[in-house]
Symmetry: C2
Subunit: 418 residues, 2 copies
C-alpha cells in the first residue's frame, strides 16, 4: 500500500476490502492500492454548498440529528460464517474509510470507477460519478447478535455488550417477517439524491465481500419527521403531518436527556452513541382511504389540514390530551402522557409496488434513536390500544447500538475493541 494517508485518515482499504471490490479480478486488484491521492477519486462535481456535505468524523455519527434528507437506503448485514474478530475490525475500518470518502462526494477509493488498471474491476461502481455529495450520511450500528448468537461469542465482544441491547419484546399485533428483521450490523444511508444513497449501500456491500452479507434492505422517500425547525413537518401516507413534536437537532438538552447514551449509562465505548430501532410498518392504504375525514382525525387526534391538535390551537401547540379520544394516536404517543419519554424519530415513507390484488405495498419505515431502548418499548406498549392499529401492521423490526462518531484516523466502533 501507499505510504500516504488520505483525508479519510487511513491509508486506504484493507487488502480484504480491495479483494471484495475486485472479487473475481485476481491479483491485479492488489495493485489498486498504490495509486493514492484524491485527484482521480473525486466524483468531479463536489458541491460548493456546505450544507450538502456532512462530516463523517466527529463526536456523534452523522445521520442522527442531521437535518433529515429526502431519501433512505437502509441495509442490515449478517457476518459470514467463520469470520473472526480481525475480519470484523477490518470491515469496520473499510466501511469507515469508504464512508468518509463518499460522504464528501468522493468515490469509494482513490482510484474509483475509472482511475484503476483497466484489467481489474473498478473499485467504485460509478453510478454516482458526476453527482454531488447530496447531503449523504452513513450511520453504522451493531445488533445484539453481533455480540453473541447461536454460534457463541464469535468476536470476543460478548462481555462488552450493552445490557440494554437485546431483541425487542413482542408487541400486540406484531406480524414480523424474520427475513426482513434484525441483523448483526446495520447501515442507515440518507441522502437528497436516491442514486447517491443506493450507490453507498451497493459499494459498502461490495466491500463487505467475504466478511458480511446483505440480509435485508429498505428504500424510503419522503421523510416523515424533521430534526430542524427549518424543515416543514412532512406527511405520512395517511396524509397526516407526522413528527410535529420531534426532538430538534438544536435542542441539546433534550438530545442529552433522550437520545445520546451518557457516560454512566452503559459500556464506555457506547457513550455519545445511541440506540436505533427500525420498524417496517405496512399501511392498509385502501382501507384507510375509505374512512371518513372526521374519523381519520379522531384516530390521529389532529386536524388533517393544518396538523393542529383536535383539542385546539395551531400545529405547534401542545395538545390537551384529556380532550382527545382516549385511544387516539397523539394521546397515546405524546410524551406528556408517557412520563415525559421522548424519542428522536427519523422515518421515511415507502412504496414497493403492489400486491396481486392491486393494493399498494406501502407504509412507513419507522426509525427512532433513543438513549435507552426502554423508551421505545414504553411508547410502543402505550400504543397497544391505538385506534390506528386497525390500519397498520408491523412487519419488520430491528435494534442496533449505534457507536459514537469516529475520530479522524480511526473507525466507527473502534472503542469496542480497545
Amino acid at each position: 500500500m501507499s505510504g500516504e494517508s488520505d483525508a479519510a485518515g487511513r491509508r486506504g482499504l484493507s487488502r480484504r476490502g480491495l479483494l471484495g471490490l475486485a472479487a473475481g479480478g485476481g491479483a491485479a486488484a492488489l495493485a489498486l492500492a498504490g495509486a493514492g491521492g484524491f485527484a482521480l477519486g473525486s466524483r468531479g462535481a463536489r458541491s460548493d454548498e456546505a450544507a450538502d456535505v456532512h462530516p463523517f468524523f466527529g463526536a456523534h455519527q452523522s445521520g442522527i440529528v442531521t437535518a433529515v434528507q429526502e431519501h433512505l437506503h437502509f441495509a442490515a448485514f449478517d457476518m459470514m460464517p467463520r469470520s473472526d474478530r480481525d475480519d470484523l475490525i477490518e470491515l469496520l475500518q473499510d466501511w469507515s474509510y469508504a464512508s468518509a470518502r463518499m460522504t464528501q462526494g468522493l468515490e469509494v477509493s482513490a482510484t474509483g470507477a475509472v482511475g484503476g488498471p483497466a484489467e481489474a474491476p473498478p473499485d467504485d461502481t460509478g453510478e454516482a460519478l458526476g453527482l454531488k455529495a447530496a447531503a449523504l450520511t452513513i450511520t453504522i450500528g451493531f445488533g445484539p447478535t453481533l455480540f453473541e448468537n447461536d454460534d457463541g461469542d464469535r468476536y470476543g465482544i460478548r462481555d462488552r455488550r450493552p445490557a440494554r441491547l437485546e431483541r425487542l419484546p413482542a408487541f400486540v399485533g406484531d406480524d414480523l417477517d424474520p427475513a426482513q428483521s434484525d441483523g448483526d450490523l446495520c447501515i442507515q444511508v440518507c441522502a437528497d439524491d436516491p442514486q447517491v444513497a443506493v450507490h453507498a449501500i451497493r459499494n459498502l456491500s461490495r466491500i463487505a465481500f467475504g466478511r458480511a452479507k446483505l440480509r435485508w434492505s429498505q428504500l424510503g422517500f419522503g421523510r416523515t419527521s424533521r430534526t430542524s425547525a427549518a424543515q416543514q413537518t412532512p406527511r405520512n401516507l395517511f396524509g397526516f403531518k407526522d413528527g410535529t413534536a420531534n426532538i430538534l437537532a438544536d435542542d441539546a438538552a433534550a438530545l442529552a436527556e433522550h437520545v445520546w447514551v451518557g457516560e454512566g449509562d452503559g459500556p464506555d465505548w457506547l457513550a455519545g452513541g445511541s440506540y436505533l430501532v427500525a420498524r417496517r410498518i405496512a399501511m392498509l392504504i385502501e382501507t384507510w382511504d375509505r374512512v371518513r375525514l372526521s374519523e381519520q382525525q379522531r384516530i390521529f387526534g389532529r386536524d388533517k389540514g393544518e396538523g393542529a391538535p383536535l383539542s385546539g390551537g395551531a400545529e405547534s401547540d401542545a395538545p390537551v390530551l384529556a380532550r382527545l379520544d382516549a385511544h387516539s394516536h397523539v394521546r397515546l404517543a405524546h410524551h406528556d402522557g408517557n412520563n415525559g419519554i421522548r424519542i428522536l424519530r427519523r422515518g421515511f415513507n415507502y412504496v414497493g409496488g403492489n400486491n396481486e390484488l392491486g393494493r399498494l405495498d406501502a407504509g412507513l419505515f419507522f426509525l427512532s434513536y433513543q438513549r435507552d431502548p426502554a423508551q421505545f418499548v414504553t411508547l410502543q406498549r402505550a400504543l397497544s390500544t391505538d385506534l390506528l392499529n386497525e390500519y397498520i401492521r408491523h412487519v419488520g423490526s430491528g435494534i442496533w447500538a449505534v457507536p459514537p462518531g469516529a475520530q479522524q484516523g480511526s473507525f466507527v466502533g473502534a472503542g469496542l475493541f480497545d
Copy 2:
C-alpha cells in the same frame, strides 16, 4: 353537480369517480361534487417557477418530450369484468380531470383532502398537501387488450385498434413475468418529488374503483435518459452514461420522423400520439461489478468516465461503429447501424431491495416512445447478440398506444370514441 366548470375544463369528477374516492362512505360522497371552485382545492404551495408546472392539455400529452424528471411511478391497469364503453369513457374523463388538476399542483378535486364534509372520506388522500407541482406529468396509454381480449370487443373499439398495436414479439433471452407485464391501460407518472408521483398513481387508482384495477406498478429514480440538452447525461446502474444519443425535445424534425404518429400513419384518433414500450430489465449487479474495466468498456463501446465512444472523440461525438467491438451495445443499438432508426428513450433506474441471497433487486425500467412499434422491435432484435445480455434479463414488458394530448374541456383518448 355544480353548474360551474373549472380550470380542468369539466364540471368535476363523475358520480362513479366520486364513488370511487368515497367507496365505503355511502351517500355523503355525492354531496362532494357541489362545492366547486378552486379555493379549497389548492395544495396551498403552488410553485412560482413555471418550469415546475407542465400543462396537461395540448397537442401532445406531456411526459413524452418533457425534460425527464427525477422520479417515476408507472402503473398498468386492467378494466374490471363487466365494465362497458360508458365506464371506459367516464374513467378517461375522470382521470383527465384529476390529472389536469394534479399537474397544476392542485388536489384531485375541488374539495380535496380536507374541504369536503367531515362525514365522508376525503376526495384527496392528502400526502401531497403542501408540496409543489414538482414538474408532475401524467401520460395515459391504451394497450392491445383494451381493444380486444378473450372476452371480445368489450368497448366497441375493436375496429379502431391501430394495426401496429400488438403485443411485442418474443425476443431472445426474454424471461417475462406475466404479472409484471401488459395491461389494458397504463399511466406513466413522472415528477421531481417521489411523494407527488406516488400520490398521483394512488389517487388515480382510487378514482378507477369499480371500473379498472391496478395490475402492476413500478417505481423508478435516476432517469437514464435526457430529452433536453440542458440535462446532463445520466448514468445507469452499471455506472455508464446512457442516452447520449437520445432525441431531444427541441429537435422537431426528429420527433416528427421518429416519435409522433403522423396523420397518415394509422387511425386518425392517434395522430399526434405515440407508441410507448416498457421493459423491466433486471441487472445482474454483483456479476457486473466483478467485470474488469476494459471489458465493461468493450461491452458498452464507450469509455466509463466521460462516456466517449471507444472509437475516439468526446461524449457527444458520433461513434465510428466499425472501430467498436462487433457485439458492443453502442454498435448494435446506434441508429447509424440500424438504417437511421431512432427512438425516444425515457427510462429510470430502480432498486426494489434485495433477494434472499443478498443480491440487489435492481435494474433499468426502460421506456421508449416511437412512431411505430417496429422501431423498437428492430432495435431490440439487433441487440440479440449484445455482449450486455450476459448481465441483464428482460423480466417485464408492455406496449400501449398513447393518444395525443386532450383539448381543454375534453379528455385523453376522446377521439377514439368519436
